[in-house]
């Protein structure tokens, strides 16, 4: 098995890791770093449960090779809360009950975080379009969308 040493920054911390060249970023996060917030739903880019930020942009970590992240910055759901305080997006999902079983929640929160960084006041239509790459099989999306709307100023 061929391995490669990579040096990504994970949640602000520089890392040096020896990884199998064929594993995905999602596998590295979950199996090597034990960051299990990102989930594998479909494994082919449809469900968004594995959404993380790669250099600030939301990506499906199941469709990124771990070796591609050398020299790059990865942020996962575990990197959002600071000093025991939830990130505003996490708080909004909590306060608006934007979840049921919770499997899709880390992906939705990371996708929302990226959306609001680009567009702080999205309309409901923009929220629904921007979150189309995240599937939820419990909520019917309404409370998720309301959680995001609660973060907009209008």
């Amino acid at each position: 098995m061929t391995k490669k040493t990579i040096t990504p920054t994970i949640n602000g911390e520089p890392k040096e890791l020896l990884v199998d060249q064929r594993i995905t970023l999602l596998d590295m996060l979950r199996d090597e770093l034990h960051l299990t917030g990102a989930k594998e739903g479909c494994g082919n880019g449809n469900c968004g449960a594995c959404t993380v930020h790669l250099d600030g942009l939301s990506v499906d970590s199941c469709l990124v090779l771990a070796v591609e992240t050398t020299g790059r910055s990865v942020t996962t759901i575990e990197g959002l809360a600071k000093g025991g305080a939830l990130d505003p997006v996490q708080a909004a999902f909590l306060n608006n009950s934007g979840m049921q079983c919770g499997i899709c929640t880390p992906g939705f929160i990371m996708a929302t975080k990226a959306l609001l960084a680009k567009k702080p006041n999205p309309t409901e239509h923009e929220i629904r379009t921007s979150l189309a790459g995240n599937l939820c099989r419990c909520t019917g999306y309404d409370k998720i969308v309301r959680s995001v709307l609660a973060l907009t100023k209008d």
């Binding site: 199998d20 064929r22 082919n44 939301s58 499906d60 090779l65 591609e68 379009t129 790459g133």
Partner: protein, 291 residues
Amino acid sequence: MKTFDYASPATLQEALGLLGRFTGDARPLAGGTDLIAQIQERRREPDVVLDIKRIPECMRLSLEKDGLHIGAAVTCSALIAHPAVRERFSILAQVASLIGSVQIQNRAGLGGNLCNAAPSADGIPGLICLNAQAVIAGPKGRRVVAVEEFCIGPGKTVLGRDELLVELLVPEPPAHSAGSYLRFIPRAEMDIAVAGAGSFVTLDPKSNRCKEARIALAAVAPTVVRARAAEQSLTGQPLTTSAIERAGDLAMQAASPISDVRGSKEYRLELARVLTRRTLADCAKQLGISL
């Protein structure tokens, strides 16, 4: 999953050198949204994955005198965010925003969409409409192939095993022109086209008649195809409802669809007609023509 080696050359020369040396199946990696899924599902089992994202030519996105240069690994998000693309190559921004989710658009690009050579590729009709050229590098130097000649079957392209797509070169659309792409999917987004149509019309401003029309259809043949009879029917004609209807009827001649889980042959033929009409009507609207 089978083991593979990963290489990320920093220059085109280095990449071509590696491609020449490898004996097994080497697959270039741009956004990976098709390739990594195919590897995971064992539909492809490359020996080497060659990441092209460190190669400057493959990451270039710039408007020059000879047109828009879109590096083979430039993402859909980068295209959508580029003001000149949105204003002057709007059909490309339109298709880039149709491909997958935001997460996919942050990785995937038109270069990979072309090389994956899916009959249903949303990125290809827009490129064909704008007469885009594929710039290919190989051991003997560079060659240029029109995008409409690039795919030769589902998943098959003209690329040799020692060649690499470097960039897409898209000539600036002429004045008095408009382009539009529509696909039909049963969902609102995040789906593979049952059929798609891209239309591009250039008007003669004096006569207000079509100087040139280019129409490309997706998911109705083994590759994206041009609807030449439909195009020719518009040349020299004013863009009227009846001319558009006739072009839609003729577009069906270029379609040779299969029936599959996404739609029947008959349904796809009808979609080719309807989507051609709608995209032409959208071009007319953009050109200020009321139908």
